[in-house]
Amino acid sequence: MGQEPYVEEYAIQAGDFSAIGEASTKFKATLKMLGIASDLVRRASVIAYESEMNALIHGGGGMLRMTVHDDHLVIEASDSGPGIPDVQLAMQEGYSTATDEIRELGFGAGMGLPNIQRNADAMEIDTEVGRGTRLRATVAFKQG
């Protein structure tokens, strides 16, 4: 039913910390242009930003993709990094393996995955140690 989903995708380059948020900012502009309600845009922005940050900082770069359907949107981040050995632990607020150098820049608060979960209607993490991580988060357009 409905229209073809709208897909937008960006490569997240390894090492380029100053670029964190660029892809998310483009997603945000697209969602505004598509006329998506502003509270949904804000939630999607938080999800995209935290996913982008993780793919770059922890995953060593990868891809960030947004798919906009009629009644929901999906944000996916994938990388071929080290993977997450214990997802439950990683989900805990404040847990972070970020280095001091990264923390000084304001990243690595251990709040990324909890922020994503709080703003998503559904969230899945597919990860394998030594192979990489794929995160998929959905925001539904219908409220209540």
Binding site: F17, S18, I20, G21, E22, S24, T25, K28, S38, R42, S45, V46, Y49, E50, M53, L105, G106, F107, A109, G110, M111, G112, N115, R118
Partner: protein, 113 residues
Amino acid sequence: MKIGEAVRVTGASVLVEGDMDRELGGAISGDLLSFIMAEAREGWLWITIQTHVNAAAVAVLKEVPFILAASGRMPDRTLVDRCSVEGITLATTPMSAFDAAGALREAGFPISS
């Protein structure tokens, strides 16, 4: 309180002038980007000692119209440039984040939440 008044009250030097008549709906202070992503609201002032370009993306995504660098921190050139492209007011105050918040409250800045 308008952005222009917040600048005056904190004795800040403006590096990028956005809409100085914009009314601030609240304020938040913090240096952890994920914390600001979680807690900042549209139209708020953000007081921070972060001065690198990444602060701009957070402000854009959260629709924060004014970043105030505290403790005399001088924003990176790249942050200045990004803020001017995005129309975000950027200023630096010699006051600490604590003192800047105190000065704003004393001048009548309302409680945010």
